[in-house]
Symmetry: C2
Subunit: 385 residues, 2 copies
C-alpha cells in the first residue's frame, strides 16, 4: 500500500465539489524536492479505505508515463521545474509572480495568513518548439494545508477551516502541425477532514480534444476510447457512466460568447465519491490510463500531413478561442490567478502563438467552416457504433 | 443644442457606478443606420441640464476625428460596420454571436426578455494590416432600454428596472512596430431614470498607454498631456483632478497575477457627476480631445525606428499580458461576453498576434527588463516637471 509523507498525516474524508478547490492544485503547486517525492514516510494512521498514498503514487507514475510517451513521440526532452512550499513559505521562485513588487498603491494583496497555512509541491514539465509539440506542459502537484481557505470552499462553506489535501496531474499539448489536435487531460483527488466528523473526499478529471481540422475518424476514436474506459464501470454499476461524463464535458468546455464548443469534448467528471473510494480511484486510473491510447493514434495519423499558411493561420485563430475559454471560463485558471498562484504554471496551458482577426469567417463549405458547423457542437460521435 | 432620436425621448437623470453598465456600450452595440445617425429628432422634453443629444453629437464627432487622424497617419482606410438592434430584435448579423446554434444541451442562454428590451446602434471601425496599425478599432455605440437588467446594475440594485441610455466611444490601437506603444481610450455617458424620481447619470472614461520599449520622454509626454487636460478643472475646482484619475488608472489597469501594470497608465475616471452635468461633460470632452495630442507625437517619434525578431518577439509576449488583462480583469469585456453582447466588437481590442512562452524572462539590464522594472509600476512620471 502506498503512503504519505510524514509532513501530512493521512486523513480520511467523504462528498463535495472539487471545482472550488481543484485550482489549488496548480496555483500553489510548489515543489516537492526529489527526496520527498521518492520516499514518503509510511502511513501509520490505521484509518483506511481512502488510500491517499496510492493516489499519489499513481499520479506520479501517470505523469512519468505520459511524459515518456510524449518525449518518444516528439524526439525532444521536457524541461522539469520542481518547486516546494513549506508552511510559512510564499514559495515563488521568480519575481513575476510576486504581487508585491509593483509599488502599486491599492492592490488586492494575497492573504498572507492563508498562504502560510498551505504547503505542497509540484513538478512542471514543459517542452517548447519540439518537432511535434510547439508547446506542451504536463504538471503534477500535491498541495495541502491545515485550514481550507474560505475562498477555496465558497461553494461548500462547511469545508472552510478543514485540513485538506489536493493533488492531480494536468496536461495540455499544443502540436505545431494544424492537422494534429490539441489535447488536454486532468485527474485530481481532493480530501478534507475535521476531527470528529466524516472525512470529505472526491475525485475528478477527464480529457478533451480540440481539433483544428475536421476528421470524423479522429473524433470517433477519441470518444470510443473514452467509452471503453467507462465500460467496466457501466457494467458493474448499471449506470450510463460514459453518457453522463461525455455530456458534462460538452457542457463544461463551452464558449457561450461564441456559441461553440472548445473542441469535440471527451470526458469530464467531478465531485465523484458516490461509488466509494476503491471504485472511484479505479475510475480515476481508467481515465488517466486512457489518455495515451485515445490521443497517440490521432497524432500518428496526422503528424505527417503537409500544411501551409492557410492551415497555420486557421490554427492560430482557433487557438484564440482556446485562450478565451481558459481565461474567461475555466474555473481552475481563474481561481488560480485570483488567489495568488504560480502564474507561469497556471498559464502553461496557453498556446504558444495566437491570432485574433476582426470578424474572421471561413469560406462556406471549407474544412474550416465544417469544423465549427459540424464538430464544435454537442454531438453523439458514437451513434450506431 | 443637439438632440436625440425620437425613438428615445430625452430623459434626464443624476449619481452612480458606470462600471456596472458601461459594458453595455460595447456588447449590445447594435447598429444605428446612417439615417438615424445623421438626423435624430429634436428634443422636446423640455427637461434640461443633461443634454444627451450634445453628448451623442460630441461622441460621433470624436470618433470621426480620431478615425481621420489614424487614417492619415496610417495611409490606409478603416472598414466600418454599423449595426442596429430595435426592440425585440436580437440584432446579431452573424452566426458567431448566436448562442443558440450549437445544439448544446444545457447552455446558459441569454435572457430573451431582457434582450428584447434593449435597443441601440453602433459603428465599429477597424483597420488590419495597415502600414502603421497592425490592428486598430474605434467604436461608437449608443444603447438604451426601457428597463435596466438586474445583471447590469448589480452594484446599484436601485437602478434595476429604470429606463436607461448608455453611449460611448472606445478605441484600441495596436501598431506593428514594437517601438510604437499600444494605446486605449474610452469616453462614455450613462443615464437612468424612473418616473417621479431623480435621474441618475454619470460620465466615465480615460486613456492609457502600453509601451513595449521604455522611453521616458514618451511616458512623460503622455502624462503631461493628461495633466494639461485636467488643469482647467483643477483650477476651477481647487481639487487634484489629475492625481485622482491618474491613480485610479494605475489601480484599474493592473494585473495582480503578474504583479505588474498593463502599461504606464494615464487617466481613468468613472461615476463622475459630482461636478454637475455641464462641467462633467466638459471634462469628458477634454479627455476625449486630449487623446490625439497625447498619442500622435509618440507615434511619429517611434514609427521609423528599425526593429527585428527580438523586438517583435518581445512585443508578442507583452501582448499576451494585454490579452490576460482584457479577458481576466476588464469589467467591460467580461460583462459584455457574459451577457450575450456582440463578441467581435467586444474582442476587437485583442491584439492581432500574441505569444505565450513558458516562464520567459528578459535578460537582466536589457531594455525588455527595464520595461517591467521601471515602467510597469505605479510611478509619478511628472515629478519635478
Amino acid at each position: 500500500m502506498s503512503t504519505l509523507g510524514d509532513r501530512v498525516p493521512v486523513r480520511l474524508v467523504v462528498g463535495v465539489d472539487l471545482k472550488t478547490v481543484a485550482p489549488i492544485l496548480v496555483p500553489f503547486a510548489p515543489i516537492m524536492n526529489e527526496a520527498r517525492l521518492e520516499s514518503p514516510a509510511p502511513d501509520r494512521s490505521g484509518r483506511d479505505a481512502i488510500d491517499v498514498g496510492a493516489v499519489r503514487t499513481y499520479l506520479l507514475d501517470l505523469q512519468d508515463r505520459i511524459t515518456a510517451a510524449c518525449e518518444a513521440e516528439d524526439g525532444g526532452r521536457f524541461r522539469e521545474d520542481t518547486w516546494d512550499r513549506g508552511e510559512g513559505d510564499r514559495g515563488d521562485e521568480g519575481d513575476s509572480a510576486d504581487p508585491d513588487r509593483s509599488g502599486r498603491p491599492d492592490a488586492d494583496r494575497p492573504d498572507e495568513d492563508r498562504l502560510k497555512a498551505i504547503w505542497g509541491g509540484g513538478r512542471s514539465r514543459v517542452i517548447e518548439r519540439g518537432k511535434l509539440f510547439e508547446k506542451a506542459g504536463i504538471n503534477f502537484s500535491d498541495v495541502g494545508g491545515d485550514s481550507l481557505p474560505a475562498a477555496a470552499s465558497a461553494r461548500r462553506p462547511e469545508l472552510a477551516g478543514r485540513s485538506f489535501r489536493a493533488m492531480g496531474v494536468s496536461l495540455v499539448l499544443h502540436p505545431e502541425n494544424p492537422y494534429v489536435p490539441t489535447s488536454h487531460a486532468n485527474v485530481r483527488f481532493f480530501l478534507a477532514e475535521k476531527p470528529g466528523e466524516a472525512p470529505v473526499w472526491w475525485v475528478g478529471g477527464g480529457f478533451d480534444l480540440t481539433p483544428y481540422y475536421p476528421f470524423e475518424e479522429d473524433a470517433v476514436h477519441w470518444h470510443r476510447t473514452a467509452r471503453e474506459a467507462c465500460r467496466p464501470f457501466e457494467e458493474a454499476l448499471g449506470e450510463p457512466v460514459h453518457d453522463r461524463f461525455k455530456r458534462w464535458c460538452d457542457e463544461y468546455f463551452y464558449l457561450a460568447h461564441r456559441g461553440e464548443a472548445r473542441g469535440v469534448g471527451g470526458l469530464f467528471f467531478d465531485d465523484l465519491n458516490e461509488w466509494g473510494f476503491e471504485r472511484s480511484f479505479a475510475f480515476l486510473r481508467a481515465v488517466g490510463d486512457a489518455f495515451l491510447p485515445a490521443y497517440l493514434p490521432i497524432v500518428r495519423r496526422r503528424r505527417e500531413t503537409p500544411w501551409g499558411e492557410r492551415e497555420r493561420r486557421f490554427q492560430l485563430l482557433r487557438r484564440g478561442r482556446y485562450v478565451e475559454f481558459n481565461l474567461v471560463y475555466d474555473r481552475g485558471t481563474l481561481f488560480g490567478l485570483q488567489s495568488g498562484g504560480r502564474t507561469e504554471s497556471i498559464l502553461m496551458s496557453l498556446p504558444p502563438l495566437v491570432r485574433w482577426d476582426y470578424d474572421w469567417r471561413p469560406e462556406p463549405g471549407s474544412p474550416e467552416a465544417r469544423l465549427t458547423e459540424e464538430f464544435l457542437v454537442a454531438r453523439d460521435w458514437l451513434a450506431g457504433t
